[in-house]
Amino acid sequence: MRGNSLGANVGRFVLLFFLQVFVFRQVSLGWSGKEYLFIWLYPLFIAALPLRTPRPGVVALAFLAGLSVDIAYGTLGLHASAATATGYFRQFPLKFLEPKDGYKTKSTPEGRDLGQAWWVRYLAYVTVFYCVFYFSVEAFSPVFWQDILLKCLLSIPVSYLLSLILVSFLRPRL
């Protein structure tokens, strides 16, 4: 599962897609008929796309990933929208989290150059952005800002922690 080859990325997508759709889809907590806690893991796929991927390519791949999750969830367009936005947004945290000597785009076997600390920060940006964007699109109107806020507050920590745990196993090479 390491490395940045096409196979690794496809494998990562398949794994995250199945985890998202078959495991974490079952997890949703809420009260009074509304669900407020969701776990979104597959944005990790977008975050973990190789650094050398052209940016429009990242956006397009994110769109496709979101669309496939949408088809599984029956919410056509919602995840696609959030994922596309995340794919576009990814370049900004990447830019200001860049190490002093730049990213090493040449692959090294183990890829320890981007440590756990780097991933902690990077994933925080991606997860928060994804959740805020997704729940806003889901509510579809700023009128429901309280719902959006509540869902974000409950979902972000859980999604973030799970993504961190998962990324320490996958540790992709960017």
Binding site: P54, R55, D70, L78, T84, G87, Y88
Partner: protein, 272 residues
């Protein structure tokens, strides 16, 4: 051209993102019922704002003055329409009988306003104190009852409808059994008649009449027919469901029943 192409290439991710977002929103609005409802609702709310902004621009193009002139002319013409006048002609009708004294007179009115349908319906009539309308007088339609006058001004009167939770009307059957007619706020077509003793035989489709005991309505106005009979266990009474013969919420013409003997009868009622 080359520059445009260069801008496009340099911001490829933004344009991809933007184009795909449009696709996403198109998908969201077309395939998700909640979001499409919100979208159309939002459009109906802010579409007006958008259009009014457009109007401002239109007016800015020297149409303002033109509009003003036309508006004034319209207002002038509208004031000349028959609806703008308060009708002072009085249509009064009364039961004429040589052998008896006149007791009730009827004043023809129109319903000019009414509350939206709710458990406490009221309506406003275009006749008031000037023509002797006072609180407590009954209001009847071409058939059936409409309500009871509640508040009056010099030209208008407000009546509480019979479809009002506080309404209590004395009503009875042909065989002189009587009880209290009230509305439970549920179905505008039905009222319930309570306090009819259990031993009185009541048949479905019997007509319910006003008793006239409360000096609000004359005796013997048909209110409705009995549709259901329910014995109230332990009270010795039965509860009758009355299907109204009229629809009080849709009546336009109304007659205010003025009881010429009301004061006299009330004196009698209050004397210890």
């Amino acid at each position: 051209m080359e520059r445009i192409l260069r801008i496009f290439l340099a911001n490829g991710s933004f344009f991809t993102f933007f184009g795909l977002q449009i696709v996403c929103f198109w998908l969201i609005i077309n395939y998700n019922s909640t979001q499409s409802e919100i979208a159309s609702e939002t459009w109906s709310l802010y579409g007006g704002w958008f259009r009014s902004g457009k109007d401002v621009i239109d007016n800015y193009l020297d149409l303002d003055e033109e509009n003003e002139i036309l508006l004034r002319e319209n207002a002038q013409l509208r004031a000349k329409l028959p609806e703008s006048y308060y009708d002072t002609t009085v249509d009064q009708d009364s039961i004429e009988d040589e052998a008896r004294l006149q007791r009730f007179t009827y004043l023809a009115t129109r319903v000019v306003n009414r509350t939206p349908y709710n458990p406490n319906n009221t309506f406003v009539l275009d006749r008031g104190e000037q023509l002797g309308v006072i609180p407590g007088q009954g209001v009847v339609g071409e058939s059936g009852l409409l309500g009871i006058i509640d508040v009056t001004t010099s030209r208008y009167a407000r009546a509480i409808s019979i479809l009002h939770l506080d309404t209590r009307i004395s009503a009875g059957l042909k065989n002189k059994a009587f009880g209290t007619l009230r509305w439970d706020g549920q179905d505008a077509r039905y009222m319930s008649l309570s306090d009819i003793p259990e031993y009185i035989t009541v048949n479905p489709q019997d007509t319910v009449y006003t008793t006239g005991y409360s000096n609000v309505f004359p005796t013997g106005i048909a209110i409705g027919t009995i549709s259901e009979i329910e014995v109230q266990p332990g009270t010795g009474n039965q509860l009758l469901r009355v299907r109204l013969i009229n629809d009080p919420l849709r009546q336009d013409l109304a007659y205010v029943v003025q009881d010429l003997f009301k004061e006299e009868l009330e004196n009698l009622n209050t004397t210890e």
